[in-house]
Subunit: 206 residues, 2 copies
DNA sequence: CTTTTTACAATACATTTGTATTAAAAAAGG
DNA sequence: CCTTTTTTAATACAAATGTATTGTAAAAAG
């Protein structure tokens, strides 16, 4: 038989080809033929790794989530001051480069696609809300948050802010580029951690 | 000839059928046949009002925008205290009922669909950012905003918050229902208008 | 070396899709 | 009443798509 192939690796390559196709041509362009061509495979070859299109799409979606959570887990494992860790984790939730942009793009596409599937493959949640709740707990336990705030509402606001910014960065990348995204988020987090005087960052007394 | 038909009215009916189909079956289900069936027409009949599918979709998208902007314009025309007008306008940007939810749903679907079209029908912008800028100007001119805030950043934040909440209300309607949406937005706007002490609404001294 | 198993390619097939064509029915205009 | 024009229906057709089948080559297993 021909050179033994690492199935899992091939599946990941195909999933990445899927991401590229969706990013460039939308969900409408994510046909098995387009994906096979992007991956440099024939239809028959593709079918050896995914027997149905929805299985391929579901796998590709799952892989996006794994990649993102792995990156975040890595940041959380770094040895940083709590404040830096808190901020950097949140910044990671927003697309700062082309790669993250594609991830978010395909995540949206997958979500919209699987939402209306009869045999639902299991409506995947991105887990960001749960993660932000834990992150806010972490911030509170490390004294980053003033006691006066309504933590639950602030978590909801932060969640909406992050996803809203992500969405806008995707829809209007020329207006909302990386540096501006960072400015907006830092501004919000500074206000959040400042309690009274939300006007600016806390440690600014020059 | 058969009973003269108001073409514009028919086109609106068809567009509304399109919304329903997209809401229930996603963009994948928005075939000309499904839409014709939902509208109670034959393929040939549909084709008398829209000669191509993309023309139908583009019209349906335009109609969504017109409906939403009309509703907002109506609120702006009401005789309300500036503070109420400011808040109610922003609350209108978020889906509080089934109808608004469908509008947002199809707007997202259309946006994703037309994004990857060779002969782009004209990437429609929802105009929310521009509207919010004007609304913030209005708020400032009516003394609702403290001078200490960074108006541009706060506009960007508000924009992201609104769209993020809308997205989440769509994705997790059970968790983020109407009352909760309102609580979160009011909380944010209160903090925004409060300047120092962002902890709660301003006029609360009992 | 022989056999068997694996990766891949080519092709086939039934459905669905957008669009086009043709025709009929129905009422407005004269 | 008769012609004309508009609405609608029925059918056609080519292209695209998901999936299945068949075949082939290559290397692992013996």
């Amino acid at each position: 038989m021909p050179k033994q192939i690492d199935h899992e690796k091939r599946r990941e390559q195909i999933a990445q080809a899927t991401w590229r196709v969706i990013s460039e041509r939308g969900m409408e362009g994510a046909t098995v033929r387009n994906i096979a061509a992007e991956a440099g495979l024939s239809l028959g070859a593709l079918r050896h790794y995914f027997s149905t299109q929805d299985e391929l799409l579901a796998y590709s979606m799952k892989l996006v989530k794994e990649r993102v959570t792995a990156r975040i887990r890595e940041i959380l494992s770094l040895d940083l001051p709590p404040r830096e860790k808190f901020i950097r984790t949140i910044l990671e939730l927003v697309p700062m480069n082309r790669e993250n942009m594609v991830e978010m793009e395909v995540w949206f596409a997958f979500t919209a696609y699987f939402r209306h599937k009869p045999g639902r493959f299991d409506m995947q949640d991105d887990g960001v809300y749960l993660g932000l709740q834990k992150l806010m707990d972490y911030a509170e336990q490390n004294g980053l948050l003033p006691a006066s705030i309504d933590k639950e509402l602030e978590t909801e606001k932060l969640y909406a802010l992050v996803d809203g910014l992500a969405l806008h960065a995707y829809m209007q990348p020329q207006r909302l580029d990386g540096p501006r995204l960072e400015r907006v988020l830092i501004h919000h987090l500074s206000g959040l951690m400042a309690a009274e005087k939300q006007s600016d960052a806390p440690d600014r007394r020059s």
